[in-house]
Protein backbone atom coordinates (compact mmCIF):
# COMPACT_ATOMS: atom_id res chain seq x y z
CA UNK A 1 0.00 0.00 0.00
CA UNK A 2 1.31 3.38 -0.98
CA UNK A 3 1.97 5.98 1.64
CA UNK A 4 -0.24 8.48 -0.19
CA UNK A 5 -3.18 6.21 0.02
CA UNK A 6 -2.68 5.63 3.69
CA UNK A 7 -2.64 9.36 4.29
CA UNK A 8 -5.68 9.86 2.10
CA UNK A 9 -7.54 7.15 3.86
CA UNK A 10 -6.71 8.43 7.28
CA UNK A 11 -7.84 11.88 6.34
CA UNK A 12 -10.94 10.47 4.77
CA UNK A 13 -11.79 8.64 7.95
CA UNK A 14 -11.47 11.83 9.88
CA UNK A 15 -13.50 13.85 7.41
CA UNK A 16 -16.18 11.21 7.25
CA UNK A 17 -16.43 11.32 11.01
CA UNK A 18 -16.84 15.08 10.90
CA UNK A 19 -19.41 14.86 8.14
CA UNK A 20 -21.37 12.24 10.02
CA UNK A 21 -21.47 14.49 13.04
CA UNK A 22 -22.62 17.33 10.81
CA UNK A 23 -25.32 15.15 9.33
CA UNK A 24 -26.53 14.21 12.77
CA UNK A 25 -26.50 17.84 13.82
CA UNK A 26 -28.39 18.94 10.74
CA UNK A 27 -30.92 16.22 11.24
CA UNK A 28 -31.83 17.29 14.73
CA UNK A 29 -31.53 21.01 14.18
CA UNK A 30 -34.15 20.95 11.47
CA UNK A 31 -36.78 21.52 14.08
CA UNK A 32 -35.74 24.99 14.97
CA UNK A 33 -32.90 25.90 12.60
CA UNK A 34 -31.90 25.13 9.04
CA UNK A 35 -31.45 21.45 8.43
CA UNK A 36 -33.78 18.55 8.48
CA UNK A 37 -34.07 15.06 7.16
CA UNK A 38 -33.45 15.73 3.55
CA UNK A 39 -30.27 17.68 3.93
CA UNK A 40 -29.00 15.38 6.62
CA UNK A 41 -29.58 12.47 4.31
CA UNK A 42 -27.70 14.09 1.47
CA UNK A 43 -24.80 14.94 3.72
CA UNK A 44 -24.71 11.43 5.05
CA UNK A 45 -24.72 10.12 1.51
CA UNK A 46 -21.85 12.33 0.58
CA UNK A 47 -19.90 10.93 3.52
CA UNK A 48 -20.37 7.44 2.19
CA UNK A 49 -19.42 8.56 -1.30
CA UNK A 50 -16.26 10.02 0.13
CA UNK A 51 -15.50 6.64 1.60
CA UNK A 52 -16.00 5.09 -1.82
CA UNK A 53 -13.52 7.51 -3.26
CA UNK A 54 -10.94 6.99 -0.57
CA UNK A 55 -11.16 3.24 -0.29
CA UNK A 56 -12.28 1.08 -3.14
CA UNK A 57 -15.91 0.30 -3.36
CA UNK A 58 -15.72 -3.33 -2.41
CA UNK A 59 -13.96 -2.66 0.87
CA UNK A 60 -16.56 -0.13 1.83
CA UNK A 61 -19.42 -2.37 0.86
CA UNK A 62 -17.88 -5.11 2.97
CA UNK A 63 -17.76 -2.71 5.86
CA UNK A 64 -21.31 -1.55 5.32
CA UNK A 65 -23.07 -4.67 4.14
CA UNK A 66 -26.31 -2.96 3.23
CA UNK A 67 -28.52 -3.06 0.20
CA UNK A 68 -29.12 0.64 -0.32
CA UNK A 69 -32.21 0.07 -2.42
CA UNK A 70 -33.72 -1.54 0.60
CA UNK A 71 -32.64 1.37 2.76
CA UNK A 72 -34.48 3.68 0.42
CA UNK A 73 -37.57 1.51 0.55
CA UNK A 74 -37.28 1.33 4.30
CA UNK A 75 -37.16 5.11 4.44
CA UNK A 76 -40.34 5.43 2.44
CA UNK A 77 -41.93 2.81 4.60
CA UNK A 78 -41.00 4.71 7.71
CA UNK A 79 -42.32 7.99 6.34
CA UNK A 80 -45.60 6.51 5.22
CA UNK A 81 -45.96 4.48 8.39
CA UNK A 82 -46.01 7.58 10.54
CA UNK A 83 -49.06 8.52 8.56
CA UNK A 84 -50.63 5.12 8.77
CA UNK A 85 -50.07 5.25 12.52
CA UNK A 86 -52.53 8.11 12.71
CA UNK A 87 -55.14 6.02 11.00
CA UNK A 88 -54.85 3.51 13.79
CA UNK A 89 -55.40 6.22 16.36
CA UNK A 90 -58.30 7.60 14.38
CA UNK A 91 -56.83 11.02 13.83
CA UNK A 92 -56.30 12.50 10.35
CA UNK A 93 -53.59 10.86 8.30
CA UNK A 94 -50.12 12.21 9.08
CA UNK A 95 -51.08 13.84 12.35
CA UNK A 96 -47.91 14.21 14.33
CA UNK A 97 -47.73 13.65 18.01
CA UNK A 98 -45.06 14.36 20.55
CA UNK A 99 -44.45 11.87 23.26
CA UNK A 100 -42.35 12.97 26.18
CA UNK A 101 -40.71 10.45 28.45
CA UNK A 102 -39.04 11.30 31.71
CA UNK A 103 -36.28 8.79 31.76
CA UNK A 104 -33.87 8.39 34.65
CA UNK A 105 -30.40 9.76 33.99
CA UNK A 106 -31.30 11.26 30.61
CA UNK A 107 -34.02 13.57 31.76
CA UNK A 108 -36.85 14.60 29.47
CA UNK A 109 -36.72 12.89 26.10
CA UNK A 110 -39.08 14.16 23.49
CA UNK A 111 -39.96 11.69 20.83
CA UNK A 112 -41.94 13.23 18.04
CA UNK A 113 -43.39 11.41 15.10
CA UNK A 114 -41.96 14.26 13.07
CA UNK A 115 -38.56 12.92 13.93
CA UNK A 116 -39.60 9.50 12.77
CA UNK A 117 -40.91 11.02 9.58
CA UNK A 118 -37.70 12.97 9.03
CA UNK A 119 -35.70 9.84 9.67
CA UNK A 120 -37.63 8.16 6.91
CA UNK A 121 -36.85 11.01 4.59
CA UNK A 122 -33.17 10.88 5.47
CA UNK A 123 -32.96 7.12 4.99
CA UNK A 124 -34.60 7.38 1.59
CA UNK A 125 -32.27 10.09 0.47
CA UNK A 126 -29.21 8.12 1.56
CA UNK A 127 -30.54 4.98 -0.04
CA UNK A 128 -31.44 6.57 -3.34
CA UNK A 129 -28.32 8.63 -3.78
CA UNK A 130 -26.01 5.77 -2.98
CA UNK A 131 -28.01 3.38 -5.14
CA UNK A 132 -27.74 5.69 -8.12
CA UNK A 133 -24.06 6.37 -7.66
CA UNK A 134 -23.27 2.72 -7.06
CA UNK A 135 -25.27 1.54 -10.02
CA UNK A 136 -23.62 3.91 -12.39
CA UNK A 137 -20.11 3.54 -11.14
CA UNK A 138 -20.34 -0.23 -11.20
CA UNK A 139 -21.50 0.00 -14.76
CA UNK A 140 -19.09 2.49 -16.24
Amino acid sequence: MKINEVILQSIAKLVVFIILTLALYLFFSGHNAPGGGFIAGLVLASAIILLFLAFDMETVLKGIPLDFKMIAALGVFLAVSTGVGSILFDVPFLTHTIVAYDLPLLGMIELSTVTLFEAGVALTVVGVVITIILTISEDV
Partner: protein, 111 residues
Protein backbone atom coordinates in the same frame (compact mmCIF):
# COMPACT_ATOMS: atom_id res chain seq x y z
CA UNK B 1 -35.96 43.20 -6.98
CA UNK B 2 -38.88 41.06 -8.10
CA UNK B 3 -38.73 42.54 -11.57
CA UNK B 4 -35.06 41.75 -11.81
CA UNK B 5 -35.57 38.16 -10.74
CA UNK B 6 -38.44 37.78 -13.16
CA UNK B 7 -36.32 39.04 -16.03
CA UNK B 8 -33.53 36.74 -14.99
CA UNK B 9 -35.97 33.83 -14.97
CA UNK B 10 -37.16 34.92 -18.40
CA UNK B 11 -33.64 34.84 -19.74
CA UNK B 12 -33.08 31.41 -18.23
CA UNK B 13 -36.31 30.23 -19.87
CA UNK B 14 -35.13 31.60 -23.19
CA UNK B 15 -31.76 29.88 -22.97
CA UNK B 16 -33.39 26.69 -21.79
CA UNK B 17 -35.85 26.73 -24.67
CA UNK B 18 -33.05 27.25 -27.12
CA UNK B 19 -31.07 24.38 -25.63
CA UNK B 20 -34.06 22.06 -25.61
CA UNK B 21 -34.63 22.65 -29.28
CA UNK B 22 -31.14 21.43 -30.09
CA UNK B 23 -30.37 17.96 -31.27
CA UNK B 24 -28.09 16.89 -28.48
CA UNK B 25 -29.43 15.04 -25.50
CA UNK B 26 -27.06 16.53 -22.97
CA UNK B 27 -27.94 20.01 -24.10
CA UNK B 28 -31.58 19.10 -23.71
CA UNK B 29 -30.93 17.90 -20.19
CA UNK B 30 -29.03 21.08 -19.42
CA UNK B 31 -31.98 23.02 -20.81
CA UNK B 32 -34.30 21.13 -18.51
CA UNK B 33 -32.18 21.93 -15.52
CA UNK B 34 -32.13 25.64 -16.43
CA UNK B 35 -35.89 25.58 -16.76
CA UNK B 36 -36.17 24.14 -13.29
CA UNK B 37 -34.05 26.94 -11.90
CA UNK B 38 -36.18 29.45 -13.74
CA UNK B 39 -39.39 27.99 -12.37
CA UNK B 40 -37.97 28.12 -8.84
CA UNK B 41 -36.91 31.71 -9.26
CA UNK B 42 -40.37 32.52 -10.49
CA UNK B 43 -41.98 30.81 -7.52
CA UNK B 44 -39.72 32.82 -5.30
CA UNK B 45 -40.46 36.11 -7.04
CA UNK B 46 -44.20 35.45 -7.19
CA UNK B 47 -44.32 34.92 -3.46
CA UNK B 48 -42.72 38.32 -3.09
CA UNK B 49 -39.85 39.28 -0.86
CA UNK B 50 -41.83 40.62 2.01
CA UNK B 51 -42.76 37.33 3.41
CA UNK B 52 -42.48 36.25 6.96
CA UNK B 53 -39.33 35.27 8.62
CA UNK B 54 -38.29 31.72 7.82
CA UNK B 55 -36.85 31.15 11.27
CA UNK B 56 -38.81 32.57 14.11
CA UNK B 57 -36.70 34.85 16.20
CA UNK B 58 -34.48 35.84 13.32
CA UNK B 59 -34.43 39.53 12.48
CA UNK B 60 -34.27 41.97 9.63
CA UNK B 61 -34.15 42.19 5.89
CA UNK B 62 -36.20 40.82 3.06
CA UNK B 63 -37.34 37.26 3.03
CA UNK B 64 -38.99 34.95 0.67
CA UNK B 65 -42.54 33.95 1.48
CA UNK B 66 -42.30 30.76 3.52
CA UNK B 67 -44.76 28.67 1.58
CA UNK B 68 -43.01 29.09 -1.78
CA UNK B 69 -39.79 28.13 -0.04
CA UNK B 70 -41.30 24.85 0.95
CA UNK B 71 -42.65 24.35 -2.53
CA UNK B 72 -39.30 25.10 -4.10
CA UNK B 73 -37.63 22.65 -1.76
CA UNK B 74 -40.02 19.92 -2.74
CA UNK B 75 -39.59 20.77 -6.37
CA UNK B 76 -35.79 20.73 -6.10
CA UNK B 77 -35.85 17.25 -4.67
CA UNK B 78 -38.24 16.00 -7.27
CA UNK B 79 -36.24 17.44 -10.11
CA UNK B 80 -33.15 15.86 -8.65
CA UNK B 81 -34.86 12.49 -8.95
CA UNK B 82 -36.02 13.19 -12.47
CA UNK B 83 -32.66 14.54 -13.57
CA UNK B 84 -30.78 11.56 -12.27
CA UNK B 85 -33.17 9.23 -14.02
CA UNK B 86 -32.93 10.96 -17.34
CA UNK B 87 -29.16 11.24 -17.03
CA UNK B 88 -28.91 7.51 -16.68
CA UNK B 89 -31.34 7.05 -19.53
CA UNK B 90 -29.17 9.29 -21.67
CA UNK B 91 -26.16 7.30 -20.64
CA UNK B 92 -27.86 4.05 -21.60
CA UNK B 93 -28.83 5.60 -24.90
CA UNK B 94 -25.35 6.68 -25.82
CA UNK B 95 -24.14 3.29 -24.84
CA UNK B 96 -26.75 1.47 -26.92
CA UNK B 97 -26.88 3.60 -30.03
CA UNK B 98 -23.48 5.26 -29.93
CA UNK B 99 -25.03 8.35 -31.43
CA UNK B 100 -25.20 11.78 -29.88
CA UNK B 101 -27.12 13.40 -32.68
CA UNK B 102 -30.78 12.98 -31.89
CA UNK B 103 -31.85 13.78 -35.44
CA UNK B 104 -30.00 10.66 -36.47
CA UNK B 105 -31.30 8.67 -33.54
CA UNK B 106 -34.95 9.20 -34.53
CA UNK B 107 -34.14 7.87 -37.95
CA UNK B 108 -33.02 4.47 -36.65
CA UNK B 109 -35.44 1.70 -37.47
CA UNK B 110 -36.25 -0.98 -34.97
CA UNK B 111 -36.06 -4.69 -35.47
Amino acid sequence: METLIIILAGILVTVSTYLMLSKNLIRIILGMSLLTHASHLLLMAMGGFKGNVPIIGDQAGEFIDALPQALILTSIVISFGVTSFILVLAYRNYETFKIDNLDKLWGIKDE
